[in-house]
Symmetry: C2
Subunit: 479 residues, 2 copies
């Protein structure tokens, strides 16, 4: 299929014949006095596209083209003003070369060449920018301009059926992407656009932990106070089945208000409930409509995975209520346990569903082994504090007898062991507890280097004196 | 209520008496050999907290305290290791002063003083960091450390009932916040935590439009292919009622797969449907469960706002299907219209619900006036491409006869007029079309200055040669 150099999409799909006549007739009906004389697009040969000002090194020549029509097709995007200028034969600035890398290494090589020679680089994905995003408008500020067309990076590299995610190359077009996902019975089901208005200012400051400035106020999304609320506690005989049930609910599109899986130890300690596989606490709420059908479907999903909902008569007070009461007292209880020389602390993470079993096994083993070495005996618990379609946020508890005078060093030893295990098994060093100073060593391993550089650049610009929460997240400027 | 300087929450809520006995008994049951001898927290007077190393300027002295217990209470967060160190009388580093600003100006003054004198500043919100986030661990790298406690910034400053949002000061605690929201029958309904693992790397690169690097691949969230799908087209007699109905659906928690309001002109031009108030195209889909009850409730909400669902017999082909077919042909039709010297272009924005009516009126007026001046006659349409609980993303269409040879300058004049009107009426310069070069002047007005500085700092760090899509979003380094 040949793509149009001056307008939208494929030449063979253009509006012509009866469709064109009907369209023009509709426009004439709407605007009877309009001059609707048609104009053909100019011949490319007649446009005298200027010769390229730069040449690639021999090693990159095979990726590059200087074809005039190809360069014109990359000179602008797909806004009306782009099409109108193309139709009028108004060239503007045309890239000197179009480069089509086949790999990340090709891109590195192209960028190295351009950085060395000061050549501007315009990345080009679908090429449908309607805001002048792929158009060089540089005058003679640069010796040349290269358009980096990603169309050869068009593959789905990896599919994670369990977490419902795929690793997708940046140059793939929607239909070709869906074709690659279809054999997996998966779909993107939305249409990513260029972006909003630039990178998100909120997301740079959220989580900056006082290192970039002081957040003094924010507009926050609110909810109407719920009028309908239903809940259930689902018991499981097998923890693996409980996890599978929780994933099914998280991926169902039912949007529970609460979906918290307690493992058997957590359910026993804090919800006074004995099970062999744990308890899933479920709740739905709404200010708009009764939500019983939502809960019914979620419970049905749990039953498909071996869950059961005991009647209150059998079980005494419900697990959800007991757990909520215990939750509110936990930090106060922690203080008393510390006074009695007990180690009582939590740590948390997030991972994708496909990695949870391995992570849970490895982290529990690391915690158990560290407790054995440091304290002799102890208990490790796990609950999910949050679940997403992509994965859970597991939250672990550690309870063990410490030695008065050595509590901090004992805990630090356990913490280091479990943090290593989290990072080694695909977990994040934190889901919502933040980084601070304590998580710095593992955050430094987890955070992409290129983002560390960006963050350091941002901090230098905003906090030149380096006084804002020094040492949190990144080192202060000059350190 | 007195807060504990060494442990959690309020002194009066501590675990004591029978609750404490029961807790210790449970621990003993779990770990029979543990030494559970209790230890009392140390007297503050016995701890010899060092004297402050810095003194505030007289103008800020009224905001500052050097009280030893207050400084200790701000020396660390609420992790187990914090409590254990407090109990052991292990002081660590204690801030020299605690400052409690009453306003943003107070904060500016404090930061100015500290930047001038090189004093470290630790922002302090709820003070519940469990990761060493509020703890100075600076040795003698700074002449002093000030903790900036935001507790006096504890008010809800503004409530937008229509968009369900509030402007909230950063120092308010959860219960006090809910108390202020309750008279409005609103609730936050979630519990914001410190953060994830630092600011979001993805959100810095998403929308960076090739100015910071080249995105080569990404893990993307997928969906199971839907098995159930239902849809309806709801007709309205009054556009204001149609907007209210759309807002009700967007805020209902029903999560429609499609919720697209076409104004009467858009419905007529592209869905061949005549109404006085427009058409709301609704769809629900799921891979997990039938969604008829979801659609039924959404239609009910629409009927509460004057909507009606005509039977197919009355209306011929459904509006949703007609509109979808038209949508796919639109860019091809645009090319033909350009060939016939028609101006046919769109622009889009996002706003909160409370601002939509004014924005719609003002932008439509600006577009109409500009069309009148530039083209004589023409049509302006509006649809919502996306809706959120907070507000819609209105998408406008402009169709007018142009003059061959002047199409671009004619459109540019209209575009400038509507862009000014968008920014002046609380809209963003783009919802999903991005910034590029065309939106730069308005993006520069919309983007916070402090974020421009951060972005420039990040670009300098990542693209020192200034070659990456120069001029998009921000000026290249050195320009």
């Amino acid at each position: 299929m040949q793509r149009s150099w001056w307008g939208w999409g494929n030449v063979s799909d253009a509006v012509r014949g009866a469709e064109r006549d009907a369209l023009v007739a509709r426009v004439r009906g709407l605007l009877p006095d309009a001059d609707l004389t048609p104009h053909d697009p100019p011949d490319v040969a007649s446009l005298h596209v200027p010769a390229p000002r730069v040449a690639p090194p021999a090693s990159l020549a095979g990726l590059c083209t200087t074809d005039a029509e190809d360069r014109l097709a990359h000179a602008r995007g797909q806004a009306y003003r782009d099409v109108a200028r193309n139709l009028a034969g108004d060239l503007g600035e045309v890239p000197d070369l179009v480069v089509r890398p086949r790999s990340e290494q090709d891109i590195v090589d192209v960028l190295d060449w351009c950085a060395r020679d000061g050549i501007a680089v315009v990345p080009f994905g679908g090429g449908t920018s309607v805001v002048g995003g792929v158009e060089p408008r540089l005058g003679d500020a640069y010796p040349g301009v290269v358009t980096l067309d990603l169309e050869r990076l068009d593959r789905v590299l990896e599919v994670d059926r369990t977490s419902r995610a795929a690793r997708i190359q940046a140059g793939v077009l929607g239909p070709a992407l869906e074709e690659q996902l279809r054999p997996h019975e998966l779909t993107l089901r939305h249409f990513p656009q260029s972006s909003g208005a630039g990178p998100s200012p909120d997301r740079l400051f959220l989580g900056s932990e006082g290192t970039l400035g002081v957040i003094t106020e924010a507009w926050m999304r609110l909810q109407d106070r719920p009028r309908w609320r239903v809940q259930a506690s689902v018991h499981f005989r097998d923890y693996g089945e409980a996890v599978a049930a929780t994933r099914a609910v998280a991926q169902s599109g039912l949007y529970p208000a609460n979906c918290r899986l307690l493992d058997p130890a957590e359910a026993f300690l804090n919800a006074a409930t004995s099970t062999t596989g744990g308890v899933l606490v479920l709740a739905f709420e709404s200010a708009d409509h009764p939500v019983d059908p939502w809960l019914a479907r979620a419970v049905e999903l749990c039953k498909d995975h071996g869950g059961s909902v005991p009647s209150y008569e059998d079980e005494g007070p419900d697990a959800a209520g007991s757990w909520r009461s215990a939750f509110l007292r936990m930090p106060y209880q922690r203080d008393v346990m510390a006074q009695h020389a007990m180690i009582a602390e939590t740590f948390e993470t997030a991972c994708t569903w496909d990695r949870f079993e391995q992570l849970h096994t490895a982290v529990t083993a690391a915690a158990t082994e560290a407790i054995r070495e440091v304290c002799g005996v102890g208990v490790v618990t796990c609950r999910f504090t949050h679940v997403y379609p992509d994965g859970p946020a597991p939250y672990f508890g550690v309870y063990a007898p410490g030695r008065w005078g050595s509590l901090v060093s004992q805990w630090d030893e356990i913490k280091a062991a479990v943090s290593d295990a989290l990072i080694a098994n695909g977990g994040t060093i934190t889901h919502h507890h933040a980084v601070g100073r304590d998580h710095r060593p593992w955050y430094d391993r987890q955070r992409p280097g290129v983002f560390a550089a960006a963050l350091t650049g941002a901090k230098r610009a905003l906090d030149p004196a380096g006084i804002l929460n020094p040492g949190v997240l990144i080192d202060p400027a000059g350190a």
